[in-house]
């Protein structure tokens, strides 16, 4: 780890340890607010919302490796604020070379003033990029777009949606403000304590809201997806590591049949298996981030592999964490079940395990 990375990690660990204890987080998740503006402002001030942007955008020019470092800490603390959604995912699209967007948007994103999120998933489908129902067509003064989007992570606090739709048979990306005429936003909470929204729209937009189309849109989307996958994988890695650590602590303290649970060999082997699987994930996520930052040829394949491996492992590890705890882990007031809920929500965010696996096979067989 280089010095800059160490500084980032230290400051994240310090801030989260001091301000983001589980009970405050739980109160926030149970409140009518979706996120803490205090935290969000602090994130902006610490430069976390500017991390991956180039200096021309006031950013720090960090790569996925640094995003992953921070995401992993967010995973450990179950951070509710949408850094991944806005900074990493939306930010990746807004700053993709060739994508048409006013620089004021990037300023608003980097400063934390506005929140941006991807609106791609449609109801009753998996996230397949090639089968969108939402569609756009040219009209007199711009474009008319019609369709539905669902389960948009951070959707309840989003100011601008990056909406995918078909335009003349091609993928197109639109930037749509939450208060656009013809747009209905249904906001709600999610099981992992965050917010989301569904969109229904039949709206006319100015031509300037079309950010990209065709090959450009597609490659911006795919680059965004890689980053979303790795950000989510790193967050899941943090969550599962924390779930294991909590389990190890708990079994050391908990006495049953006259001995600490941790002394039962069957449980020791299960915790050893959890550790083994987590370490394998850590290796893949790290390698994929470095490959992405270096622009390596195998970056996407490593990214997809990380998605597949992390998704299964996070599911299994957090399930095991609950099982090894017993009843306590099934309550809202104990942390470990929240890791389970969070990694479950991450499973299908932007890209499902199944989609990743199919694309992995496609890339492998094409090589």
């Amino acid at each position: 780890m280089n010095e800059e990375q160490q500084m980032l990690l230290d400051s994240a660990q310090r801030y989260l340890r001091d301000t983001y204890d589980f009970n405050s987080r739980r109160d926030m998740a149970n409140s009518e607010q979706y996120i803490s503006t205090t935290h969000w402002q602090a994130f902006a001030e610490m430069g976390w919302l500017a991390m991956p942007f180039g200096e021309q955008h006031g950013g720090l020019g960090f790569g996925m490796e640094e995003v992953a470092l921070l995401s992993e800490e967010f995973g450990k603390h179950l951070v509710l604020e949408p850094m991944l959604e806005s900074t990493v995912v939306a930010g990746s699209v807004l700053t993709y070379p060739g994508v048409a967007v006013e620089s004021s948007h990037i300023d608003a994103l980097v400063s934390g003033e506005k929140i941006y999120a991807l609106a791609h998933q449609e109801p009753d489908t998996t996230a397949d990029i090639d089968n969108l129902s939402a569609h756009a067509q040219h009209v007199a003064n711009g474009l008319k777009i019609t369709g539905n989007k669902a389960y948009i992570s951070a959707g309840a606090v989003t100011d601008y949606f990056i909406v995918t739709a078909k335009l003349e048979g091609q993928l197109a990306l639109f930037l749509v403000p939450k208060d656009a005429e013809g747009l209905t936003v249904t906001r709600y909470k999610t099981y992992d304590g965050r917010s989301a929204a569904n969109l229904a729209f039949d709206m006319e937009l100015p031509f300037s809201s079309l950010m990209a189309r065709g090959d450009l849109a597609r490659s911006a989307f795919m680059t965004m997806r890689d980053r979303a996958i790795l950000g989510a994988s790193a967050e899941a890695l943090g969550a599962m590591q924390a779930a294991l650590d909590t389990t190890v602590d708990y079994t050391r303290q908990r006495v049953q049949f006259g001995k600490p649970l941790s002394s039962f060999q069957a449980l020791q082997h299960r915790m050893a298996n959890m550790l083994i699987q987590i370490e394998l994930c850590r290796s893949l996520v790290g390698a994929a981030c470095r490959a992405l930052d270096a622009g390596s040829e195998d970056a996407r394949r490593l990214t997809l592999a990380a998605k597949v491996k992390v998704t299964s492992t996070a599911r299994k590890v957090t399930q095991e964490a609950i099982q090894l705890h017993g009843g306590i882990a099934t309550t809202d007031e104990y942390v470990v079940g929240h890791y389970f809920k969070r990694v479950t929500a991450l499973e299908s965010w932007v890209c499902s395990r199944e989609d990743a696996l199919v694309d992995f096979i496609r890339l492998t067989d094409a090589a």
Binding site: Q121, P123, D124, T125, T126, A127, D128, D130, N131, A150, Y151, S153, T186, Y188, K189, T190, Y191, D192, A196, N198, R254, V255, Q256, F257, A266, L267, R315, Q319, I322, Q323, G326, G327, A329, T330, T331, D332, E333, G337, H338, F340, K341, T344, A345, E347, S348, W349, S352, E354, D355, V358
Partner: protein, 396 residues
């Protein structure tokens, strides 16, 4: 020989006529072993009027006198018709236990009120710090004339907030081996000194409670079985709990649900997820496990019917049934994908009539997935079941 087809038809016609749309909705919206409380009780009263509230009970106590196959058919039809579940603590647990260990007074006073639903019972077994090691329980009942004075706390007491009665395991003798000093005690839940703290579960709902006892006075006539003999009473109850359930019925229901979900979700290429060969294969493998479980349950039923005792095989069925049921939860999660995420508890209320952000077929998926993680914890953890198999069958 009983005409089972005719019986099934009779049950089906009764359910058709008796299950209101609200009751069916309550059944459909069930996300754990318990349905909406009021709906469950309403359904129990309807069944009671028909004489079917306690399918497993002998006729002398108001059971319908069905054989093992009829009971299975009844359960299966109820499940298929989306009837709400009947709360188990009274009818499945305490009732049979009183028939075996209760005094005449207990039998005549308590059993009919269980059947009618006039009393709602909850179970006080586990304690914080005890878990699978039930024998280490610490709640004490000290004899004081014709009363016990009870102090301590019980946890994971399901539906205590809706119950007027509680049965508990309490320690009546500290000077003997842990298992030897335990007694089985019945209490009114509104006795002075009892307080109830609801526990919010991981799905955001309250189903379980912690119950505190502070100098609670309980008449000694409320003892079931002999003083200090509560362990054998309790063990028989654990066996009811473990063996009394037909996992196959629930799992077949889950299978149907996953198929339906996978038909409704469009996967890659816009085709139904069910047509994805990898998903279809996983589902088939799970279905084959369900068939193996079903045939094992039938073997056990056959052994019961022949007067045998399946013994530790019920541990096997508990272990397999709960884990397979969890596997179906995962297949559901895989099938519906992102539609699991909305947390919209209003939508789980059978009386709610508004719009929800989540489609019908996925309303309960996440809550079921979350809640069913407990299935391998309560009633003897998955690990305890394996200990039992290792000890009792393999003699390790």
């Amino acid at each position: 020989m009983t005409d089972y087809a005719a019986f099934r038809l009779e049950v089906r016609q009764f359910l058709e006529a008796s299950l209101t749309p609200e009751l069916r909705r309550a059944g459909k919206l069930t996300t754990s072993v318990f349905s909406d409380f009021e709906s469950s009780m309403a359904w129990q009263r309807i069944l009671h009027a028909k004489g079917w509230a306690a399918p497993d009970w002998p006729e002398e106590y108001g059971g319908p006198g069905w054989d093992i196959h009829q009971r299975y058919i009844f359960q299966e039809e109820c499940k298929l018709a989306n009837a709400p579940s009947i709360i188990a603590m009274g009818i499945q647990m305490l009732g049979p236990l009183l028939m075996k260990y209760g005094t005449e007074a207990q039998k005549t006073e308590i059993i009919p009120r269980i059947l009618s639903g006039d009393d709602v019972w909850c179970q006080g077994y586990s304690e914080p710090g005890a878990g699978s090691d039930l024998a280490s329980l610490k709640t004490t009942a000290e004899r004081d004339g014709d009363h016990y004075r009870v102090n301590g706390t019980k946890i994971w007491t399901s539906l205590a907030q809706h119950s007027n009665k509680i049965f508990c395991l309490v320690r009546t003798n500290k000077d003997v081996k842990p298992q030897a000093g335990i007694s089985f005690l019945l209490m009114d839940i509104d006795l002075p000194g009892i307080t109830i703290d609801p526990i919010v579960s991981l799905d955001g709902q309250v189903e379980q409670c912690q119950v505190f006892f502070e100098d609670v006075e309980v008449p000694v006539t409320n003892l079931v079985g002999d003083e200090n003999d509560g362990w054998s009473v309790a063990k028989s109850l654990l066996e009811f709990e473990r063996g009394g359930h037909n996992f196959t019925i629930d799992i077949k229901k889950q299978l149907g649900k996953v198929r339906d979900q996978a038909l409704r979700i469009r996967g890659r290429g816009g085709r139904p997820k069910l047509e994805d060969p990898v998903f279809r294969t996983q589902l088939a493998e799970a279905e084959i496990e369900a068939m193996a479980l079903e045939q094992t349950e039938l073997r056990i039923k056959g052994s019961f019917a022949a007067g045998g005792n399946p013994g530790a095989l019920s541990s096997l069925v508990k272990a397999v049934g709960t884990e397979l049921s969890q596997q179906f939860n995962e297949l559901s999660v895989d099938a519906v994908g992102r539609a699991i995420t909305p947390y919209f508890p209003e939508g789980l209320d059978p009386h709610f009539e508004g719009e929800t952000p989540v489609p019908d077929y996925a309303t309960t998926t996440m809550a079921e997935y979350i809640n069913n993680r407990s299935a391998t914890i309560y009633g003897g953890t998955a690990e305890v079941q394996r200990n039992i198999i290792a000890k009792q069958i393999l003699k390790l």
